[in-house]
Subunit: 485 residues, 4 copies
């Protein structure tokens, strides 16, 4: 099949059953409703990019399965270069949209993760998950699907395991198994880009033990599957999305949703893990290695736009950009750090026997700590360069700029440099949107918390080996036992 | 006169002419309109505190002029302890409101600043500004006014001086002078707490030279003076203030306004500087010394609430607060740093011949750099502890929690620890409001940018003296001239 | 008595019994031996300063006991201003010497601490410690003693209490008590400035419980008391102190010593606490409050010299200092932070009933965390500005610069800017000495570790109060219990 | 030829003419003299590693030229994997030695750099440099040479170009050219590992213009070439290298030397660039790209040892390592950051037409900024964990520990945990050596200053492109010109 176009993508979304809600209202058409059209626009730009001579080599690739030209975001990634391209793709998408395009991310990673894990499960258990997944991947490739990925469960009490929760639905679980498939119940929370997706790929949210077999489920469902209710979350200043004017100056945006599964039936050809709890740790390990190696590219891409926004603000304020050289360089170093360290962890990875490339876990998780800290610093610098007008979005609304009585006066006083007051206002609102508004991606806890990443760093750092090296270097003959052991 | 009560304060605001606008609408009653009632509530708590046995000694004091009991926020501050009390007052107000109460801050500082400067001007120029100011201060004390302070001009092109701007109104200026008073035109931007104020104290926004005489004006005007139009700015997620429910869970808030002066007449007894440009640098110097010594208390107070919010979130998530001890301690150290360094700069200050206490400039400005950085780190830590739900305010709106179809399900999945889902939601929204929402104060550029503060640090640090000390210590006999000189 | 002069001070040291060793050698005259003459020179400058018109008001004061003019470093400190002067004194001493003058610090604080504690003990126990101490203070004042202070015990295994140590001598202890006095055994380690002191004031190194009564001892001993052996520690590049030339270009220095007490008799008039274990916590609390409030002044003073050294290096390299303005400002902010925050914690303190001023503990300890981190950053910046030559002291030795065969060539190639190669070399060695050499003070663990300080911050921060404030602000009605309790 | 053994390596050094000096003394045998035997031992370990089953695949490789097994440190690096192996080699060498092995680094990079550049020069100028270099590389491979690399010139006044210096020798230059070769004069300073090298590869220290033709010289010389005098620099605490005992507890070490060229003749087959000034910028660009991509591995390797040393200290103090988990994780993240970001910049590189792989400049230079900052933080953490004893190396010398009178007492009081006092002392001295002593590598300015790296980041970051992306995202129609242009 030929590559999907923006129009085909839009049409594919319009065909879906309306099961998304926000502010108590059901959204009939995600491509036009103010609460969702921006996230759809964001994702549509990935389809546009396939037609763009400069970008098509990044946005398309050759299928590992069929050798045909496909959307890169539907591809299995057999080589280091492919995973680096995943990173580049993410940075490019942030540059094109200013924000996250979540339905071109976690679903893609989930599919790759399960490609490896199903091969392991099948080899050990004699199941046929790998073949089922292959069938689904071929459809995804063929139809150019946009696929959200969902891991995070409601979780309930953070100090209890899934099997100990007062409410068993706190983690998504299998409530019935049959010949034809499984029935699942529970919720996946804070899932990015669902409103722009055709499909949702579900993975277990954590590693489960034997008592938690029922939670060990991986599968894919259409976004509009029966029994699934989707509620979009409130984001900072999201009601501006419903206004006219330029208080959000972009056409793009991101959403995060609560997915509520009320006994949803999933036919067996869409089920890729079912109660094999012992493999859930592996799923988390592979998924996070890929995800956290690449997420540095996202925050780099948004940081690139923040550099741009800061330069626009400086100029709109009447100052040359070089006034802020050292701050701009600091921002650039932050961006290149999360991006390049991610690329490094990919380069330090290995090919899984199933054929896909898996980045190095230790360094991918170390990078996650930077992803959870450096962008905050980049945002701060962007606000510092931009001046008071951008710090808390501190100027009158679009309505007030256009007011017939005093709008002209507001505009007069907003004007600073050589550009128009509208231009300065748009640049300031862009900065607000990037740093305090609806465009802020969830880089801190997205894909797991930095403390979780620190635990992985701790467990993968060969501390005892280093102690041994130090002991030898210091010429210490005796053993030094750890008092705590 | 007795201390003003909340009711009297409210009544005094209701009496004012309606000249405040937001979203194209004129606000008839600031005490009840959704866009302004929260900032009024914030300020009202300072009047309540005067009646509170534990707080009254901080919120009231003895008048330097009359010896009577007055609201502390109307007081001249003759001693180090008084300025430290200004700091404590600010921290306490943030603890009581979670945000800035701007009309109990800059106006108070402006009055103290001019107390010193008018004495100097009068001594040198034979004017009677000090006496005029004394009259105004007695009224402020007597009536328990809430006074916004306004320095920041529209400024126009940041690379040009006021006298070079294409639009002469870019900085507030005197357009006519007469026997009875002056007429002023221009705008003061991003002024905090105006909607909660009775009066506005206007100071020059920068140091002016002879070519800029017309901009050298200091005076006080009633908030509803003829010719003044006030437009409130948009803040992050400010439309939630108009909703019911708890998407903003506090009753409090802050506003920032554009003040547009269209030929406003100010009678001479309210004018405290008029074309004496040579004193504008002194005004800036004294004002920023007081302001920047004390502003560290504001961000400390908000940081205190962030510690509290982080603890609530940990518990609402099912985790003991001690899980996050090291992060909470880091937050506490950030808070104590800006607060205590400010107190230090007060203690290093001096009494001005006019009787008021002026903090040390060098260290007050050095503290400003922390004020512009540490709170960002505190916010990040608060989000890190709180989890994904607080990071981008990532859960459904109040309307969705209450929806008759699926509200119960949303609530079920929001529940985590022992508390109700409403409690967890309120705690999460509080964190969002503090870190990404309408409660974020403008600590970066408020009272001037950190780069401005760095320039002051540079000019007040005795670099050559230190080079000389080092030279002697190193036993270097020859002079080492600076190649750049 | 008149103030002590440098000559009298030197003479007083020469009179002491030689009981100090380094590199296996007994030091016969500390004022001339290469290993100790620098630390003596450092302290002598405090005596010189009393004769200096600009400095005498800082270096002398009026006795709280007699009203006579005394050396400030012998004074009881009854007021906030006095403790701030302690801070200023420390900063000034670092400016005069480039390093620590430890015998003008901990002993002074110890004496003030015990002034308060002995009053409490006597009040409760009917002892006469306060009177004994008064006698000793009068002698100290009268004779202008330099007094080292010693708290840190050998400690042994850090996970065991003093009473549990396999070797009971791991903490200094009372081995015999009699009518005339006590006999003590054990060691105090890493004690600064002992070689320059007349007396040593001993305090318990930690808070002790009932099982550890024997360790609860405070007293003062002459530096050369019978039974005390002092071994000086190795410091980075300390053997250069024994060379000629300018590989250490200063005349000043600091030492840290091991004090080994082998059954030392202390007559009762010199004993200020003896087995009253319940007061040891109070001693630690007061001592650390004073010490940590003021220690920020030390690192500020050394940072001032680092600013100076960095400027010298820039110029010696041929560059104007302004090339590095932003780095110099960063260094200055670091210096002012630890100094001013310390002053703030003094200003937030209280007067003890015994008459001395005690800084605020919470903020003094919070400052200690900065003291343990910011100077590392300041050193790094100093090395960054200075260039490769200062980073690891990377150029040939004095001997090689003077070598008859190739010394001229080395000098030729060291020359950079307008100054001589000797000048550049001296400036570079000064930087090395300050950042990597024998002049580095122990600011990280001196007076206790930053982790200890963090524990104090944790215990003194009213976390529950903040949680309660946040709960009220968020409009949360129910209690949220801590799951860990 | 077979791989070189440690014994052959030692013998090859012994054969060289003695032309190295320190403290005014000529070093007759670098393999045994206290000032140089440690650096030789460090490098010898790379020869040992070739015989080690676990390490040989990293320490040897296949020659790009001959297909034979060679020492990796003599190899041309045609692939990304080869340059990543350079990084791994460096990290491994730091783990084996605790410090820099500079003669296995810059020379190797210089040879690769010139492989590319000579091909370009020859192509454009018809010269035969590439062939000459090939000859030299074949000898280096064949003989398993250790090759120091030297770029840094004396430079003289940093604000003047080479051609403007009062002393023309401030940068290494060609003083005569002839049929047979060239004669060079000047100095290369702070060159690492020279005493352990067989050869020295000389590159221009900066990019030169036409007026500076004479400085555009690249060549290789034997370490003992006639006319070359080498003076070793003083390093922190380097005289301990001459002591017995364990005040430096390692057998390894690093040196940095001044190389003084007094009209040294270089035969033309060893000359690889001669007055082709236009290519000097390219040399710097390629050299720094490789160097700065890999230098992060060095500081990572030393950081690994610091983790080990910190663990040893914790245990030697009686505490379990997990007490310091969060600090150890922070150290590990610092290490993985500089290492992995370097690997990332390699992976983002390209193959040069000459066949060698060149890392990405932008990200390699961004990494250099981390290399100049993060290790300082790692050192600080190592000192924080280790306690006061490691901070300034604060305990008596080896001589004092062994003193017949009081040595036993010193040992008694140094003992803390379950291990002997010698063990604790060795671990503490290791930490001192790593953080304040002779083992500190020059990571700040080594291979160029961080400010130089920041300039490269600035010039390679597409700031205008980002401004354009931001402008489009914000829907801004007009151009916003830069006021400074």
């Amino acid at each position: 099949m030929a590559l999907k176009t923006r129009a085909e993508y839009m049409a594919s979304l319009k065909r879906l059953r309306p099961n998304i809600y926000k502010f108590g209202e059901r959204i009939e058409d995600v491509t036009t409703h103010p609460a969702t059209r921006r996230v759809v626009e964001s994702h549509a730009r990935a389809y546009d990019a396939c037609q763009d001579a400069k970008l098509s080599s990044l946005f398309t690739t050759t299928s590992f399965l069929t050798g045909e030209r496909i959307h890169r975001h539907n591809s299995l990634m057999p080589s280091m270069e492919d995973v680096i391209s995943n990173s580049r793709f993410k940075r490019q998408m942030f540059q094109l949209t200013g924000t996250c395009t979540g339905a071109l991310c976690a679903g893609w990673n989930a599919m790759n993760t399960m490609w490896a894990v199903t091969q392991e499960v099948d080899g050990a258990q004699g199941t046929d998950y790998h073949e089922r997944l292959k069938g689904w991947v071929l459809r995804a490739e063929g139809e150019g699907w946009t696929v959200a990925g969902a891991l995070t469960d409601a979780k309930g009490n953070r100090s209890l395991k899934a099997s100990q929760q007062p409410d068993p639905d706190s983690n998504l679980r299998i409530v019935r198994m049959g010949e034809e498939g499984v029935v699942i119940r529970g919720a996946k929370l804070m899932i990015c880009g669902v409103a722009a997706s055709n499909e949702i790929f579900l993975l277990p949210g954590t590693a489960y033990g034997e008592a938690e077999k029922e939670f060990a489920v991986a599968c894919a469902v259409p976004r509009d599957v029966e029994g699934l209710t989707i509620i979009e979350t409130r984001r900072p200043s999201d009601t501006r999305e419903q206004d006219g004017g330029f208080d959000i100056p972009t056409e793009t945006g991101i959403t995060q949703a609560y997915l509520i599964f009320e006994d949803v039936f999933v036919p067996k050809e869409r089920v890729f893990l079912c109660r094999e709890f012992a493999y859930t740790a592996k799923i988390i390990q592979i998924f996070t290695a890929i995800y956290r190696a690449c997420i540095g590219a996202c925050v780099a891409g948004q940081g690139d736009i923040m550099i741009g926004a800061a330069i626009l603000m400086a100029r709109a304020n009447g100052l040359p950009a070089r006034t802020f050289s050292s701050k701009l360089v600091e921002m650039a170093i932050n961006n290149e750090t999360t991006f390049t360290m991610g690329v490094g962890s990919i380069a330090l990875g290995n090919r899984h026997p199933s054929g896909i490339w898996i980045p190095d876990s230790l360094t991918a998780h170390a990078n996650k700590v930077h992803v959870a800290t450096l962008p905050y610093e980049t945002k701060r610098l962007c606000q510092e360069i931009g001046g008071g007008i951008v710090e808390t979005g501190c100027f009158p609304s679009y309505q007030d700029l256009m007011d017939t009585r005093y709008g002209k006066l507001v505009q007069k006083y907003i004007k600073a440099g050589a550009c128009s007051s509208e231009t300065r206002a748009r640049a300031a609102r862009l900065t607000e949107w990037l740093t305090l508004g609806a465009g802020v991606p969830g880089c801190m806890h997205g894909g797991g918390s930095p403390d979780g990443a620190r635990l992985v760093v701790r467990s993968l750092t060969p501390m005892e080996k280093y102690a041994e090296l130090a002991r030898k270097l210091a010429g210490i003959a005796e053993e030094i036992p750890d008092p705590g052991k």
